[in-house]
């Protein structure tokens, strides 16, 4: 499996996927504190007359915790879109472009090829949210003062990362089912936002991967036992999607002209 992992690493580096994901998350992580501390008060000050500071005080009275939570909401919304469209070709492009024909004829196993993608991009998607959250924590701490510890940030980042693994599995599954990158990206977005919206509306968020984001947003210093349910559900969903991906790949016909 070493060569499969090496191949995915090369792809992530040479196609710029690592850079896109890292830069996007860092952009939001570093921009959110500045927006909340400087840009939004500036914009709002132009909207009020009289005692400006008093008028906008209530609207912009932020803490480090509020700032971090604001960023974490962005991760669900914009981060999901960035991931969906940056990695939508992970399996779909391989099938559409017939780049898997030579490897499978050379004896490469689907399990290993999918496993290598999951390992490389999964690690990337766990590391990037943690690093971005740490950057947000540090920068918002400088601007607003440090009010929470380091550990909740690590937990929060890790939970976001596990949620990203769910997105990754979803992208790979839709890629194999639809064989087209952009529709796979849209279907993943529909699944992620659909689950989030419906589970919030019907109050069963704890039973879905969105529950991980809710737990991450709490930024508690210790891991809650209630976390077990969304964690197990997410792992089960990931396993289910991977099994579906592999079984579809085994049934597929290759080297077709009009994919």
């Amino acid at each position: 499996m070493k060569t499969e992992i090496l191949k995915e690493l090369r792809y992530a580096l040479r196609s710029g996927r690592i850079l896109i994901l890292f830069a996007s998350f860092m952009f939001f992580a570093l921009l959110t504190p500045v927006m909340l501390k400087i840009v939004i008060p500036m914009i709002l000050s132009g909207q009020f007359s009289g005692d400006v500071q008093q008028a906008i005080g209530g609207l912009t009275d932020m803490t480090q915790l509020d700032c971090i939570r604001n960023y974490m909401d962005d991760v669900l919304q914009i981060g999901t879109i960035i991931i969906a469209f940056t990695l939508c070709g992970l399996t779909a492009s391989e099938i559409r472009d017939n780049t898997w024909v030579l490897p499978i004829c050379a004896g490469k196993r689907f399990g290993r090829m999918i496993g290598a993608k999951l390992l490389v991009f999964g690690t990337l998607l766990i590391l990037v949210p943690i690093l971005a959250l740490l950057a947000d924590y540090g920068y918002s701490g400088i601007l607003y003062g440090f009010e929470i510890g380091f550990l909740p940030i690590l937990y929060g980042g890790l939970l976001q990362g596990i949620y990203m693994l769910f997105l990754l599995s979803c992208l790979m599954m839709w890629g194999v089912l639809l064989k087209r990158p952009i529709p796979a990206g849209f279907m993943t977005l529909a699944a992620a936002f659909g689950i989030h919206f419906i589970s919030s509306l019907l109050r069963f968020e704890e039973w879905t991967p969105s529950g991980l984001l809710a737990h991450a947003n709490r930024l508690t210093p210790t891991l809650d036992s209630a976390l077990l349910i969304p964690l197990v559900m997410t792992v089960l969903l990931i396993v289910f999607m991977l099994i579906l991906t592999l079984s579809r790949l085994k049934q597929m016909e290759w080297n077709t002209r009009n994919v």
């Binding site: 499978i104 004896g107 085994k250 080297n255």
Partner: protein, 299 residues
């Protein structure tokens, strides 16, 4: 090495293979010829385990293709018509990835043998079609298989590239590999094949040794263009002349295949007797189309 009986394959309403039979013996170079869309690639995809037939029996390398769980289990080398590589990988990285090794003598040997040693660290995205084709042959050889299935390895190349690829095939034959390769260029078949199979509309038209085929297509052919259309009754009489093997009629010209050049005298005499004015009378060597048309007629 390969035994195919009654292979069928359908894509929607289109019947791509219609009861194909073929046999490739160990150690031979088998030229699989046919026009574009005849079913060559569909057949080769099935033989490589990449596609499943609707019906029929297909044994490759001693394994039943219809019961295969993974194409890689066939342990053959396969080169698709248009091999797709990762453009961001170098030639060496590509071969290392496909072999599952980090390098070593085997990779270096394949790079040297395919003439890619000097460009082994260049990204494949910048390769010419010929270089990609050679890398594809290298990729097919990565597991040192006894059987190689090459889909149109030379068709899209310039004369120099074609010559290089055919030379590689000859070398492979020299080291005892069995090769099935498809083409629509008769010259290529003549240069490297032992046996030739012609497919049309998903069906095998004929399967002959090159020696047999050469004997047939070295017979002279005359292209005759009459000044005005000739009645079909007269053409039927012409076809029955002693020494005439076959007659194929196209829009303006009819082509006669004869046993030897001396028959041209009786053909000319026949045309004169029937007062057929000739615009053009020429002799030439048979082309793939002639073999194809003859195959259709004899079927």
């Amino acid at each position: 090495m390969i035994k195919v009986t009654g292979l069928t394959k359908k894509f929607g309403a289109f019947q791509a293979l219609n009861g194909l039979d073929m046999q490739v013996k160990a150690g031979e170079v088998y030229g699989f010829i046919g026009q574009n869309g005849a079913g060559k690639t569909t057949a080769m995809n099935i033989l490589a385990g990449l596609s499943r037939p609707a019906q029929g029996e297909c044994t490759v390398n001693g394994k039943d293709v219809t019961k295969l769980t993974h194409p890689g289990d066939l342990n053959i080398g396969y080169l698709p018509e248009d091999p797709k590589f990762y453009p961001w990988m170098s030639a060496r990285e590509t071969l290392c990835y496909l072999s599952g090794a980090q390098g070593g003598n085997n990779i270096q040997e394949i790079l040297r043998w395919t003439g890619l040693s000097d460009v082994q660290n260049r990204r494949v995205g910048g390769f010419s079609r010929g270089m990609k084709q050679r890398l594809g042959i290298g990729a097919a050889l990565i597991r040192n298989p006894q059987l190689l299935i090459l889909d149109e390895p030379s068709s899209a190349l310039d004369p120099e590239g074609r010559s290089e690829v055919l030379s590689l095939i000859r070398d492979l034959k020299g080291i005892g590999k069995t090769i099935l390769f498809s083409t629509h260029i008769l010259d290529d078949v003549e240069r490297v094949c032992d046996t030739v199979g012609m497919i049309d509309n998903g069906k095998m038209m004929f399967e002959k040794t090159l020696a047999q085929l050469q004997k047939e297509y070295t017979q002279p052919m005359f292209d005759i263009t009459p000044a005005s259309p000739v009645k079909s009754g007269i053409l039927e009489l012409l076809e029955r002349l002693p020494g005439v093997v076959s007659l194929t009629n196209s829009e303006k010209t009819f082509t006669i295949k004869v046993t030897d050049n001396a028959v041209s005298v009786s053909v000319m005499r026949f045309l004169a007797e029937h007062e057929i004015i000739i615009e053009n009378f020429s002799q030439r060597k048979a082309r793939l189309e002639d073999l194809f048309l003859q195959g259709v007629n004899t079927k």
